[in-house]
Symmetry: C2
Subunit: 330 residues, 2 copies
DNA sequence: TTGAAAGCGCTAACAA
DNA sequence: TTGTTAGCGCTTTCAA
């Protein structure tokens, strides 16, 4: 910056001012600085800037996994929207491990982030303490309900998603319900969906059952669970299957094809996610659509607003809801 | 850090030393510092650290999109391996836009990163200049060949992937070949695969054709391209279809089912990616498997080694190759 | 509208 | 093994 200042024949503080509020600098100085920056190919040092300004332009984003299409979509939206405000994303994956999560929060905090985005509302005790003590906007995403939000939240009720799936299947005439889920041990949001599904089914006086597995919820697992169900339900009629996500549903569809089981005649299926293939499936997959992109953009909006409002800011929780997409499998 | 030092009754530099090389500090001081850190819930300030040390512990990672399962896998592996060396990932998506890419490189550079990982070998002129001028390890991933690597590279030859697909289909008795691809305008690696496929097909004296579309390569597009092909190829026999990725292939399979076209009897299909569903499909999808996870872990290994070796480091290019997975669709 | 000066929280010689 | 000291490259008063 000193080099730029010298070349532009102004003081370093004028260069600094130009970088942050160009409109406060005279056109003459502005042109000179701009030219010098270009000629020297100057790249500001964010470390120095962040240190001096006591706060950086990074937003820490902590999700279970980017390999999960849900979070990938939110991360993409966050980057797109935060980028407009010149905020940069620092990403961490917990791989559904609470100890890793705590470590990631600590790391993120050590970058004096402008804000923090973290998936879920249930965290380890230390994580919660760290987040509560952090003097920056914290947005918990992808889940509402459960523990009270630390600061702000953007998401929806997974329990309600499960209940809506069960009610849909009942409305389609299914009297016997099963729920498929993977990652039985660590995906708390999936557990919420299962709980909602089972409770709603029972409330309607239907026979309900839960088939789960510790492995991640993949297409392969969907096939395995479907096969397991066929064995247990031999000859059953009017069965409705709720899947914790669309991959499981896809696997179930394929397994049904292989075994010449009619979908939806014999078994109706509803998934969760509305992943891209859901509409192109054969038969097209009925599913519940979360708005992952909206979650990301709303979170970004809250962050940008909080940063602008400062101390006086509010602490909203936004319910982005979900949509039931009725297609052919139900 | 001064507070911690005071509480532990040592000097700030002892605290600093403890943080970076705990083994160099006496057990007495070590215990005192550790206790003070815990009691004060001290979180080091990376900005200050990075500024003083003239370099940070961030690795900038720039990919076209995390919504793309290929890159998500590599990003996950990078984070896993770099995390071991206490390096943190700073992520950016270009969305296949060269101007965005340049901006992201500039931003990454302004964080004085320990290293940079960027997808592809073909970049805009400015991007290339910035990367060449950067005095940090740069790893170009997911592509080999084309322009000479800037520093290090880990990937494979997409042209060869296409050629292998064409040869496989020919070996399965197909005399007429078609290649499906999406993002016709901006995905250069997809273009390479198409070129390899077409060239190999021609070399073998087969009829070859390219069906492409500017939209992203999705399941939906796969169905659309398959339908388009059926029209053009009415009554054709012994056709082999290469797909630029498994999503297109999945869409083609579904469309074939809907139209009662036999796969592989009438049309053989081979995809690219070996995405999770490929093995569970019906019929199971033949595909070419890149090693996205390996690319990530090798890139991480190169970075860690470069950082350790300093000036004397080497500049390897690693070919992670690909595997042909023969299943039922061919 | 511009510039001088102090200092953000740490690291890295170097000396003790 | 520990402490002293001089910055790292910026931002931010404050005064001119």
């Amino acid at each position: 910056m000193v080099d730029v200042a010298r070349r532009a024949d102004v003081s370093p503080s004028t260069v600094s001012l130009f970088l942050r509020r160009p409109e406060a600098v005279s056109p003459r100085a502005s042109d000179a600085v701009q030219a010098a920056i270009r000629e020297l190919n100057y790249v500001p040092n964010m470390m120095a800037g962040g240190l001096a300004a006591a706060g950086s332009s990074v937003v820490g984003v902590i999700v279970p996994s980017v390999r999960n299409a849900f979070f990938a979509e939110t991360v993409a939206a966050l980057q797109r929207e935060l980028g407009q405000a010149r905020l940069q994303i620092m990403l961490g994956h917990t791989e559904y491990d609470q100890a890793v999560e705590t470590e990631l929060v600590r790391t993120a905090l050590s970058w004096a982030p402008a804000a923090l985005v973290i998936a879920g509302t249930e965290h380890g005790k230390t994580t919660r303490q760290l987040l509560e003590a952090a003097r920056v906007p914290v947005v918990q995403v992808w889940e509402l309900g459960g523990e009270a939000p630390i600061d702000m939240a953007v998401g929806f009720h997974h329990y309600e998603v499960g209940a809506a799936a069960a009610r849909h299947l009942a409305a389609r005439g299914r009297r016997r319900l099963v729920f498929f889920s993977g990652r039985a041990n660590d995906d708390k949001r999936a557990a919420q969906r299962a709980a909602g599904f089972l409770a709603a089914g029972r409330e309607m006086g239907l026979a309900v059952q839960h088939l789960s597995h510790p492995a991640p919820a993949t297409t392969e697992l969907g096939g395995i669970l479907f096969a397991r169900m066929l064995k247990e339900f031999e000859g059953a009629e009017g069965v409705g299957i709720g899947c914790s996500n669309d991959l499981l549903a896809l696997g179930a569809i394929f397994e049904a094809q292989r075994r010449q089981v009619a979908i939806p005649a014999q078994y109706a299926i509803i998934g969760f996610g509305d992943l891209e293939f859901a509409a192109s499936c054969n038969p097209a997959l009925s599913t519940i659509k979360p708005f992952g992109d909206l979650i990301g953009s709303e979170a970004a909006r809250l962050i940008i607003k909080s940063l602008a409002d400062g101390e006086a800011r509010e602490h909203p929780s936004i319910d982005t809801g979900f949509g039931l997409v009725h297609r052919q499998t139900s």
